[in-house]
Structures are given as C-alpha cells and as structure tokens.
C-alpha cells in the first residue's frame, strides 16, 4: 500500500544557489574556531567584587509549578529585604533563569550569571543531576551557591567529602539530604505502625539516582524498627502500567507501599489504586506536592501522602511559616493567577536560603566573595536562622555532610520532615500535615476502603 507519487524531493526545494558549499563550510568553520577561542579566553573566573549591588541568580525549572513557586518565593524574599534593613546597604537584584531540567541548558546559564551578570549568590536547582552538573563551574568561580531543591546526599559526599576546600562555597539550606530523609521515612513508618498497627511495608522507588539511598538504607532502617519489608521493586521511570506492581504488593500482604516517584507525575498509579487495593500509598510523590493536585488528579490522590519541606504551607511549623504563605497567597493566589497557589517545597527553601544568606552576609560584613569568601563561609556555618520551613543551621567542615543543613527534631524525637496527606472534605479534598505529630494539622487517615 505504498504510494507511488510521493517519492521524490524537489530538486529546487533546498537552496543550491544561495550560498556555495565551500563558502558555507568555511564560514561555519571560522565561526566555530572563533567561538572556541572566545570560550577559552572567557573562562569562568567570575566577578565577586563589591559593586554596591547584591545580585542573586536564581535557577529553577520555571516551566513547571515547582520552579514558578520558587521564583515567586525568591521575589518575596528580595522584596522583604529591600523593604526591611537590606543587606549591608547594597542594592539587591534578582535574576531568575529557567533550567529546563537540563544540565546542558543550565551550565551556560550559570557561566553567564557569573561572567556577565556578576552574581554574588546563586540559589536554586531542583534536581540532583543539574546541581552536580554545575558544581565544578560554581566551585571554580567561588561564588556562593545555596542548593534549595535537590536532596541527593552524594552532592555533598562526592564533592565536599573529596575536596572541601574546592567546594566550600556551596551550601544547602534545605531540604534535608536523602540520608536523613531515609531515616525520617523510617520514623514515619513507625508512626503509621503505632497509629494503625501496620507492620508490613512494600517499597517502590523509581529507577533514578535520587532514590538510590532509599533503596540502600530504608529496608534496614525499617527492620531495625521491627517492621517488615514484604515487597521491594524498582520500576523504570518509563512505567505506565502499574497494575502488575499493585497486584504483587497486594499478594505480598503489604499494609502500605512507600513509593518514591518524581518523574512524569505517576498519577496513573493512583487511578488504579484508589478505592481498589487494600493498602495505603505513602512516601514521596513530587506531583502530589502541588496544591492543585487534587484537581489535576480529579480527586484520585485521596489518602495518598508525600513528604515536602514547608508541609505544603497548610499549618504553622516554625512561627514564620504562615506569614510567608499569607504573603505568597496575597500576591500570587486568586483569579487570573497561574499555579501554584502555594510556594511548594522549593519555594520555602529558596525563600529561607535568601534570608539565610542575608543574615550570613551581615554577620560576615561582606558580600565580596572574591576577597572574603572564608569570612562568608565562616558566617554561613556559624549562624542559625528560623526560617519558614525549618530552623536552619549548617554542618561544619568536619561533619559527615559539611555545609549541609542539619536535620532538626521535634520535642518527641521525630525528624522535622513534614508528611502531607490529601484528605477528603465536604466539597473535595485538602492537604493536611500528618507528621511529625507535633506539627500535625490532622491525624493520618487510613484509606476508607481498607478493612
């Protein structure tokens, strides 16, 4: 059934007479060489001098809600600094760039931020691959960089752990790293066991670098708490049909599955699970962090949980949480405003990071990282800041995770790692903080179809 009339390319379809082949190749070659030389001559040595302006470069995937929330939160933080006491009498500028979830996109952006825009601080990066992709560039330039999205522990162990002096200008003020998150998740499972009597857990981490530590540590951590791991599988990020996994989890007799999903949304697992399978869905689900996820999933997310810094902005965590959320909502929530209607976890962390740096700069008395980097690093590691998401302090050079945010614990010893659950209401559903107990806005609910 091949069509015979469409098998030719018009000879005049592609320009043969406008630019000669040799001319074109010559020009292209010259251009390439010139560009290469320009790149060599430029380097990434940055600025760093005190030009009277504190320029903050913000990196986030602003094509997605998480990045938009972070960008808006950065703007709020900068506006608050401008309206308040400022930072060392500096003008404050904010530059936001879209990382497009691509390392190849982000690297030249960072180089431009350092070389052209003379940023004094970089905040952001959502996923670990991008964070690690720009580590060397940022380290070479010495510009302070505060990670506010990615949580992979290797970002610290593989860099600061190998050469602290080189990477000392790179920090993370939140979220807590994945090593601590695994411990917190085990503590949360213990809480579920205490509340519902659940003892058998299934693990379903997607096949991605960020879930590696959960795969490695969580089974042992659960067994240390006398909880059973009855199922442990790693689905590909390409998985679109979760029925076989759900069937096997049910057959294994799990009370709950702890899944770790970031890619693609994975809302389809919920569609098959909700109302059908007799176990709870817990863990980390990036799509479910969106305040709009109830509508996006048509209510299919009911009873599922996810961890997220800031607890979705639904309850007070630190004394500063809801003030920030209300500011965000007053500026960005309402008719005609694009989602997200709350900052989301990266927004909380970005907001806190900028305020944290402002406090550190005041402490150090300088933002001139070219001359005073050690003073800035010392200040970063010495201060405490009560942010919107958590009370932040950073680990020192000799710690297991230098320059990384220290986890905090509640009065009853639970790691401050908020878990939110979508719970039904009379007219739909809403997120509630269900863990740690001290911060609960509601108690965890067992799915209504579980016996």
């Amino acid at each position: 059934m091949v069509n015979e009339d469409n098998d030719t390319i018009d000879s005049d379809g592609i320009g043969n007479d406008s630019v000669g082949r040799r001319t074109f190749l010559g020009a292209a070659g010259a251009g390439a060489v010139t560009t290469a030389f320009a790149g060599c001559l430029g380097g990434v040595d940055g600025g760093g001098g005190d030009d009277g302006t504190l320029t903050i470069g913000h990196l986030a995937p602003t094509g997605m809600a998480m990045g938009v929330g972070s960008e808006r939160s950065a703007e709020i933080a900068v506006n608050e600094l401008k309206a308040g006491d400022g930072v060392l009498d500096q003008e404050i500028d904010l530059i936001t760039e879209n990382t497009e979830l691509s390392t190849s996109t982000t690297t030249p952006i960072v180089e431009e931020m350092i070389n052209r825009d003379n940023v004094d601080l970089i905040v952001g990066t959502f996923n670990s691959e991008i964070t690690q992709g720009i580590m060397d560039t940022v380290a070479e330039a010495d510009v302070p960089f505060i990670i506010t999205g990615s949580a992979d522990v290797n970002t610290i162990t593989d860099y600061h752990g190998e050469d602290y002096e080189k990477y000392k200008n790179i920090f993370r003020t939140g979220p807590i790293n994945s090593h601590y998150q695994a411990e917190a998740m085990a503590g949360y499972a213990e809480h579920l066991s205490d509340r519902h009597g659940w003892t058998d857990f299934a693990l379903l981490p997607e096949e991605a670098a960020w879930t590696t530590i959960f795969r490695d540590r969580l089974p042992g951590l659960l067994e240390d708490r006398d909880l059973n791991v009855v199922y442990d599988e790693v689905p590909s990020v390409q998985t679109s049909n979760f029925t076989p996994f759900l069937d096997d989890i049910e057959s294994a007799g799990a009370d709950a599955v702890i899944r770790f999903f970031a890619a693609g949304g994975r809302g389809q697992l919920l569609g098959d699970w909700a109302g059908e399978y007799p176990f709870a869905v817990e863990g980390v689900h990036v799509a479910s962090m969106s305040p709009e996820f109830w509508d996006q999933s048509e209510g299919g997310c009911v009873f599922e949980t996810t961890s997220q810094s800031g607890g979705g902005g639904v309850t007070e965590l630190t004394g500063n949480t809801m003030d920030f959320v209300e500011t965000y909502e007053s500026e960005y929530t309402g008719s005609g405003q694009e989602p997200p209607s709350k900052p989301m976890y990266m927004g909380f962390n970005t907001y806190d990071a900028i305020h944290f740096y402002a406090k550190a700069a005041e402490e150090a008395g300088t933002v001139n990282y070219a001359e005073d980097l050690d003073d800035i690093v010392d200040a970063m590691l010495s201060i405490e800041y009560n942010g919107a998401a958590a009370n932040i302090s950073l680990a020192g050079e000799d710690a297991d995770y230098p320059n990384d945010v220290e986890p905090t614990e509640t009065d009853n010893g639970e790691v401050n790692y908020p878990m939110t659950q979508w719970q039904p209401t009379d007219d739909g559903g809403k997120q509630e903080v269900v863990y740690p107990v001290q911060d609960q806005s509601a108690k965890h609910m067992k799915p209504s179809w579980m016996s």
Binding site: M1, V2, E4, N6, M64, S240
Partner: protein
C-alpha cells in the same frame, strides 16, 4: 505461573487494542497520501486534552459534560483538527516528503507549547468513563474498566473501519487511492476528497486513542512522544500502510510489552519491541503485511 500467563494474556489484549487505535490512523495516512504524519502523536494529545476540557470541572467548570459525551466531543474535535491540519497545511506541501516531515514535527512541537501554555506542564488525570476495576481473583489481578471499554471501542472502531473500506463506495475509494493514486483518478475518484476523509478518520481514531491513553496513563504536554514511537514501531512491523498489519503488530507489541513487564521487569519493557523492529527491518523490510495491495 499460570496466573501470570493469564494476566499477560488478558492485560496484553487490553493494551494491544489501544495500541491498534494509536497506529491505524498513522498507517492510513501514510498508505493513502504517502505522508509520515509526525503530528499524529499531537492529535492523540488533542484528544486527551479535549476530553479534559469537556469533562473536568476544574478546567472550565461551567461546561463540564458527562464523560461519555466527552469521548464523543474529543473524537470529533480531534477529527476536525486532523482535517484542518490536512486542508490547511499538508495538502499544499505533501509532494515534498522532507518538508511534510519537518512541518508535521513542527506542528507537534507547536501543539506541545500551546498545551504547555494553556494547561501547564503538570500531568493531569482524566475522569474515567467507566470507573473502578474488575477483580479477577483467580488470575490475581484487577482490570481497570477503562481497559475493557478501550478494548471494546477499539474493536468496534476496527470493525466499522473494515466495513467502511471494504463495503462502501467511499471506503473503497480510499482503498483504491492507497493502491494507486493514478489508477484511482482514472476511475473518477476525487483524490482530495479521499485524502480529506482519510485524515478525518485518522483524527477520529487518534482522538479515541488519546482519551484512553490519557485516562489510563498520563495526560501531559509530552504524552504524544510515546504513542508516536509506538505507532512507528507497529506500522513498520505490520507493514507501512497496512491496516491489517497494524492490528496484528499492535497485538504483537502489546503482548511483548506485557510479557516483559510480568516476567522480566519494567526495565526491559521496550527492548523486545525494538529487537523485533530491527529483526523485521533486516529480514522482512516491507513488514509482516507490507504490499498487501496491488501496486503498479
């Protein structure tokens, strides 16, 4: 073991039926017009989002319609979009394979950007037309009613299409053009009309596929890529331009994927399809049912 085999047989049949919907329109357009319509995945995406807009109270609440009506609306909208794509663009450039190829890619990318702008990048969940699952306790699995509905709708669509192209004059003219444009023209067939109808039908099938894929998997601005890849694989294996080949290849791929998912894990899900694709290209490059019609 027996449970797993039964599970593969049942779930494979369900998924394959939807793959057939994805691939048939793609192969029809190539068969009739010789056009590799790389916007076919985009049309599938239009079907999913048209259903979302029509049925979800969270998008345009005032006009949320019942899901069955939403399926009809999505099918019609996608059919019209496909018709417009042909009449407004492809018909003017279809003689140039490269330009057509590139233009349809551009259309797909443009659709992605438009969807991204209007609905954001977050994946959406479509309301199921048939909610719940059928619990097959003997097999140890559940089948989403949407899979069952998709299976039924797919075979109804295939049956109607078969009846149309083999039992009606209009349908037979499509078949004639696919065999030989010149020959069909000599017998008085209106070429433009046949091509327009083909794009309309292909669009309708893409719309149906979009609703089922969007409901059972993910509705997002990137959802068109995977169906397009599947359509490519199926159509090449089945024989480019062969409806029968597309149906057979859809079931081959569907069962292969389900088998690997059940017995080897998700990491291998797509590998066997590609192995079969390479084998077919090497051993039988015209596909399993290529050249099933006379050609001068």
């Amino acid at each position: 073991m027996l449970e797993s085999i039964l599970s593969v047989l049942i779930l494979g049949a369900m998924m394959s039926a939807i793959y057939a919907l994805v691939a048939i329109g793609f192969t029809m357009i190539f068969g009739v017009g010789g056009v590799l319509n790389l916007a076919h995945g985009g049309l599938i995406m239009i079907g999913a989002y048209a259903f979302l807009v029509a049925t979800s109270s969270s998008v345009v609440g005032a006009i949320a319609v019942p899901t069955v009506l939403g399926l009809v609306i999505a099918t019609l909208v996608t059919a019209v979009a496909s018709y417009v794509l042909y009449g407004g663009l492809v018909r003017y450039i279809e003689d140039n394979v490269v330009i057509t190829f590139l233009s349809t890619v551009m259309v797909a990318l443009l659709l992605t950007e438009l969807i991204h702008h209007e609905f954001g990048s977050s994946p959406r969940t479509l309301l199921p037309i048939a909610d719940g699952t059928l619990h097959l306790q003997g097999v140890g699995t559940r089948i989403n009613y949407m899979y069952i509905l998709g299976f039924v709708v797919s075979w109804i669509a295939i049956g109607l299409l078969w009846y149309y192209v083999s039992r009606t004059d209009e349908g037979r003219s499509i078949l004639a053009v696919s065999m030989s444009e010149r020959g069909a023209q000599l017998t008085g067939v209106d070429l433009e009309s046949v091509k327009s109808r083909t794009w309309l039908i292909a669009g309708a099938l893409a719309g149906l596929a979009g609703v089922f894929l969007g409901t059972l998997q993910t509705t997002s601005p990137e959802m068109w890529l995977n169906p397009l890849a599947i359509a490519f694989i199926i159509v090449v294996i089945g024989g480019i331009g062969s409806i029968k080949g597309s149906v057979v290849a859809a079931y081959l791929i569907g069962y292969l994927e389900q088998f690997t998912l059940e017995f080897l894990g998700t990491g291998y899900q797509g590998i066997f399809s590609l192995v079969v694709l390479v084998a077919v290209l090497l051993l039988k490059p015209e596909g399993l049912f290529g050249r099933e019609f006379a050609h001068e």
